[in-house]
Symmetry: C2
Subunit: 155 residues, 2 copies
């Protein structure tokens, strides 16, 4: 699966079919990024302090799940899903099977599950995707099954 790039054709609803796959570029995470995000949005000891984190559920510093989710979005937008009108989601089922750790290098592998043209809005449709965020050892850190709003090609 080649990584998307600025020369990747921009896709519309008609261009997508179940089984289509996309692979993003990479994001290298370190403790400073984990602590910075957690300070703003998830200030708990296991996301803020490597020492204190040892004595918690996570047994060491771990990224906020919302940080993993935000990096996943960055990767999808920049290189993981070349949709003509952007990556617009209405939600989906989200899970974090393993903690994201300092030193992890993340990328996202996505697959089209279902393409549903809208009955009421002929200019667009809904695409159900399955997006896995993995680290450099192939461990799945996040699973997300978003419902995306995707435009049809303009007439």
């Amino acid at each position: 699966m080649p990584e998307s790039s600025p020369s990747t054709p921009k896709l519309y609803l008609e261009d997508l079919a179940p089984g289509d796959r996309f692979t993003s570029g990479e994001h290298a995470l370190d403790a400073a990024q984990i602590i910075d995000f957690a300070t703003r949005f998830d200030p708990q000891p296991f996301h803020l302090d490597p020492e204190a984190a040892q004595r918690t559920f996570f047994q060491g510093l771990a990224a906020s799940g919302w940080h993993t989710a935000a990096i996943t979005m960055k990767l999808l937008v920049e290189s993981g899903m070349p949709l003509a009108d952007g990556v617009i989601g209405s939600g989906g089922e989200l899970s974090w099977p393993k903690p994201t750790r300092p030193g992890d290098v993340l990328h996202v592998e996505s697959e089209v599950v279902e393409v549903v043209p809208s009955r009421s809005r002929p200019e667009r449709g809904m695409v159900l995707m399955r997006c896995e965020t993995l680290n450099q050892r192939g461990e799945v850190l996040q699973r997300f099954s978003p419902k995306l709003v995707v435009s049809k090609r303009p007439a």
Copy 2:
């Protein structure tokens, strides 16, 4: 529903029952915060540029859904859910029924749906919650149904 505060008792699994409700403090969002988050994690025109956003699906600047989710987590951690060992989620169903806009003042209303002691780990259990993020007009901006890992009271 009183807002949680530093004097709020810290809760363990035994303290939670279906129907229990919590209300967080508030977070006031502005365009600068929306653009800052989007620049880092969701760099798309409808999250970055009020002018360009007018001509998109969102018809004006909107916060990244992941920004709404991250603020929700901040509110839960700081004032929305006084769990003794912290707010630790393994995932859940997430949806954004309406865009979050500059000027919105967010708070979170949460309800315990189910409490399930672990069979394999006697020291903890799973709590299914329903968390709604609302703005100052009572509009629901996010629904999230997290599964939380919650400790029992130490012996």
